[in-house]
Symmetry: D2
Subunit: 282 residues, 4 copies
C-alpha cells in the first residue's frame, strides 16, 4: 500500500503542499494513519508539468528514487525550488516487488502521468495474461514489475488518449474478468491519479466495495473562508484542488471523502464534484 | 535513535537471529516497540568476524547501506550465507545527520567494531572540542559526521586496546565534562556494543539516569530448558549470548534488562552477568 | 557490453581473483581493454556457492548493486571475507536498459546462476515474442528488463535442468529464428556463464560469427609451472579454472581464447577443453 | 580529479549545455580527454539559482547523487525541465574519499556555491590543522571528508562574503604554508568555481605551476559570429559565459584557456577577461 497526493491549480512551490502541512505526504511516508502500512519507505516519486520548460511538448518531468522520502535531501531541494500548476507525489510501500526506480510512481507515457495505490490480488497469476492484453507496440515500454504499471499500459491500450474514464473502466473490467476466471474473489483494489497536464482525474474503486481511502479538498473559496489563518491555503487559487490518500490535516470542512466507486475530474463541473465509476466488461 | 543486536557464541548463520525471530531486528527496523522512533529506516549495517577469512589478521567484515534494512535483498542474501561466531547488526534512525555509509554503524578500527544507540545532546556545540581530543593521528580516520563515530575514536584514543571499560569511562567522562561546561544538562545517552573479535562488551548509560533500553539473553542452558520448542535457540551453544535493544520475542525467562549505568562482558564471569559503569573524569 | 569472470576450483577468497590480479575484473570495470565500452560502471553483481551455508539446498548467494564496482566498499569487504569453490562476477555497461538490481547479473533461478555479455539485436522488437515463449509459470519470475534475463528463462524453459548445451542451443535457435523473421541480420551476440554449483559452462557465440572475447585459464599445473612466482596461482588447485571476458594479466601461456561458436565445461574432460556450439532450430 | 562546468548568462535550460554539446560534461563523465582520470563516475552534482523560487532568500538549489552522471535519469529529467541564469555542474572522480552525497560538489553555504577540481597533496596529514583554522562556528557545517569542502569553509572563514579573490588567496596561502611546514613540495592543485548568485568567479592555480585545465567561452557575440549554425549558442545572451574543465567541442575561437595562476569574474570587465591570482600568506 502507498500514499499519494495530486495537486491542480495555481502554480505553487511543491514544498507548500509536500512538506509544510501538519500531516504532509512526507510525514505520511513515515507515519501514515489510514494506510494498511504505517511506513511508506520503499521509494517515492514526483511528477510535474512545467508551463514553459521541457522540449515544449508538454512532457512532464519525473523524479523517482528508491530511498525513503522522509530523509531525501534531493526531494527537499526540488520541492523548495520547483513550482508547478499540476503535480503528483507518491510514497511507496512495496508488497514484495523489487525496490527500483522503474517500480516507483508516477509512471509516464508521453504527456500522461499515472499513479496508483492498491493492488491486483494474486498479480503473479494474472500478470502474463494482462501483459498480453497490452498493445504489442507498448509492451517494451513496461520497464518495471508492478501491477500499477501494467494497469497504466492497459489503460493506454484501451484509449486513455480519447476517453480517460472509459479507458480506466475497460482496464478495470479486464482485471476483474481475468481475476474471476482465475477464481480470485476480489481482484482489484485501486485509487488512481491520472493527468495529461490539463485535467486531473482521480478514481476510487475496489472489486470488494471497500477501496482505500481518498480525499479531495473543498473549493478554495470555501476553505479560505473557513480557515483564513492557514498559510498554504491562502496561496491557492479558486480553481485549486488537492486529491490525497489521507487528509493533510484536521481542519474541519477542508477534506471530503471521495465515495466508493466514483471518480472526479479537476477542474470539475460547477454543479458536482464526482461521478460514479463502473468497470466495463467486454 | 536506533536499534541494534550483537551476538557472541557458537558459529551461526546471521539469518537465524536477524530474520527468523518473531520480533527480529529487521522487523524492528520497521516496527520498533521501545524506541523513541518506531521506524529505523535511515540505513543499516552489519559487521562480523570470520574464523578463517580476511587477511588472517582478525579484521572483521563490515557491510553497510543507506537504504532501509527491511527491503534490502543484499542483506537477506548475506544473512542466508554468512556464518559467524561474533557479529553486530544495527538499524539507524537519523536525528538529522546525513544518510551515508560513513554514518552507518558498526564502525571499525583495526580489529574493533563499535555501534551505538543514543546521542550526545547538542552535538554540534561539542563536536569541535570532542574532535580535538581525538589523537591527531586518528583524526583523518573520522569519515562521517555522527557523534557515535567521534565517541569511538575518543575511546580508541583513551586506551580501548588496553582497557575497554576504562576507555569508555574516560570517553563518557569527557563528554559529560564538556557538556556541562556548555551548560548541557544531560549530555550523554548511550547503549554501546564493542568487540575485538574475542569478547563482546555492552554498555548502558545516560547522564540523566534513563538510558535507552538494552537486554541480554539468559544463559543458553536456561533458555533451552524453558523453551525446548524454539528452533533458533536449539542451535545456540552454552556460551552463546545475544545483546539487543529490545527483546526478539515475548518468551518468558529469555530476556533480561541490563540495569541502568552498567556493562556486561561476554563470555561473562560465571558468577555475575554485569558490573556497574561510572564515567571517569580527568 | 559487459565484462565477467567465473571461477571453479578449490575454495578461494573472492579477493584473490577479483582484486589482486594486475588486470583484475574490478580494474576492467574502469578500464576494459577489449570491450566495446571501456567503462563498465552501470552496476555489478557477484554470485557464489557455499559449501555449507544457505538453507542447505544449494541455492547460491547473489549480491548485486547499481553502483560501479570500482568504488564499492561492500564488494571489497565481501571479497575479503567470502570464500567459494565456484563463483561469478559481472560488471555491467548498460546499452539503455534501466540501472536497477534486477538488471544486474548474475541472475539466479533455484540452484542456477547465469550471466551474459552481449545482446539481442533490436531487442524491443523481439521482446514480447521471446517472453511469450517462456514457460507461463516462469513469466512472473522475470523481474528486470534485460535481454539477458529473458534468455535465461528461455533456457530454463527449454530444459536447462536436464541438458545445458541443448537448452542454450534451443534458446539461441529461437532468438535467431525470431530475429530473422523480423529481418534482423545478426540477432544474437553472447558470451555466457552458467552453473548449477557443480559444473561451470561457458559459451561463446554470435550470429555474425564474431562473438565478444572469452578466455579460459590453462590447467593449473601448466600455469604454476610457467609462473611459479605468481601468488594467486599458487593457491589454485589442479582442477581450478577461470573463464573471463579478457585476460587478468599478460602472463604467456596462461590464457587461451575460447574459439568462436564453442563452449566449455569445467571440470573438463581430460582430452579436450571445448566443444563446438550450434544453435538448434525447431 | 574531476570535471566541472559553470554557466552564467541568460536563463537557459540546463540540458542545453549539460547534454547537447558534442563533448558535453555528461559525456566527459564517461570519456574525459584532459583529466588525469578518463572516467568521472564517483558521483555528481548540480547547483542552480532560481529567479523566483526558494524561500525568496537567494539560496540556490543543490542536487547531488553518488551514482555516475551518465546513466542518471533524474539528472536528465531535471536538465530538461529546470532553467537558470547561473548554474554549476560537477562530475567526480574520487581519489579515495568516500562515495557519499556530502562529498559531492557543489557545496553550498547560505547563498554561496563552491566546486573544485584538484586536491590538497597529502590531505590526511594537513586535515586536522586546516579544520582547526575554520571558524569554530562553521566547524559543524563540514559534513563530508573532502579537501574541497574544507577549502570552502576556510574561504568563508577568511571573508568570502566581503572579498572573494582575497578569501581564496588567504585559503590558498594557508594550505601552502601548512603544506610546506609538513615538507610537502606542491601542496595545492585547484580549479575553483564560486558564486553568490550574481557573479561567477573561477580560479586556476597550482603550487607547482601546472594547474589542471580550465577554459572559458568567448563573448557570445564573437561566438555567434563564428558559428551561426550552432543551436545552443544562439540562445545565449551577450553576457553569457561558460567556464569548464575542458572544451565542450572543437569549434575554433570559442574556447580560451584561462592562464595558470589567474582568475576571472563573470560578468567581466569590458577590457580584460582575467586577472592574476597570488596566494596570500599571513
Amino acid at each position: 500500500m502507498c500514499r499519494w497526493l495530486a495537486y491542480s491549480g495555481s502554480s505553487m512551490l511543491l514544498d507548500a503542499v509536500l512538506y509544510r502541512p501538519e500531516h504532509s505526504l512526507i510525514n505520511q511516508s513515515l507515519h501514515a494513519r489510514m494506510g494498511v502500512e504505517t511506513t511508506n519507505g520503499d521509494g517515492f516519486g514526483i511528477g510535474w508539468y512545467s508551463a514553459t520548460a521541457g522540449n515544449g511538448d508538454g512532457t512532464p518531468a519525473v523524479f523517482r528514487d528508491i530511498a525513503p522520502a522522509w530523509n531525501n535531501r534531493n526531494l527537499r531541494e526540488l520541492a523548495a525550488h520547483v513550482s508547478s500548476h499540476l503535480f503528483f507525489a507518491h510514497v511507496r510501500a512495496s508488497t514484495g516487488s523489487a525496490i527500483q526506480q522503474t517500480n516507483c510512481h508516477p509512471f509516464r507515457h508521453g504527456r500522461w502521468l499515472w499513479m496508483h495505490n492498491g493492488s491486483i490480488a494474486d498479480f503473479p497469476r494474472l500478470q502474463r495474461d494482462l501483459c498480453l492484453a497490452v498493445d504489442p507496440a507498448l509492451f517494451p515500454a513496461i520497464e518495471g514489475s508492478t501491477d500499477s504499471e501494467v494497469m497504466f499500459y492497459l489503460a493506454v491500450t484501451f484509449g486513455l488518449d480519447q476517453d480517460v474514464p472509459g479507458a480506466v473502466a475497460r482496464m478495470a473490467g479486464l482485471v476483474e474478468r481475468l481475476g474471476k476466471e482465475h477464481g480470485i474473489a476480489e481482484p482489484l483494489q485501486m485509487t488512481l491519479a491520472i493527468s495529461d497536464g490539463e485535467y486531473l482525474w482521480a478514481f476510487r474503486y475496489s472489486s470488494g466495495g471497500a477501496a482505500r481511502s481518498l480525499f479531495y479538498s473543498s473549493r478554495a473559496e470555501t476553505v479560505r473562508h473557513l480557515h483564513p489563518e492557514v498559510e498554504y491555503l491562502r496561496e491557492i487559487s479558486d480553481v485549486s484542488r488537492i486529491v490525497v490518500s489521507e487528509p493533510l490535516g484536521d481542519l474541519p470542512g477542508v477534506w471530503n471523502e471521495l465515495p466508493q466507486a466514483s471518480y472526479t475530474v479537476i477542474p470539475s463541473a460547477p454543479d458536482r464534484d464526482w461521478l460514479p465509476f463502473v468497470p466495463e466488461f467486454r
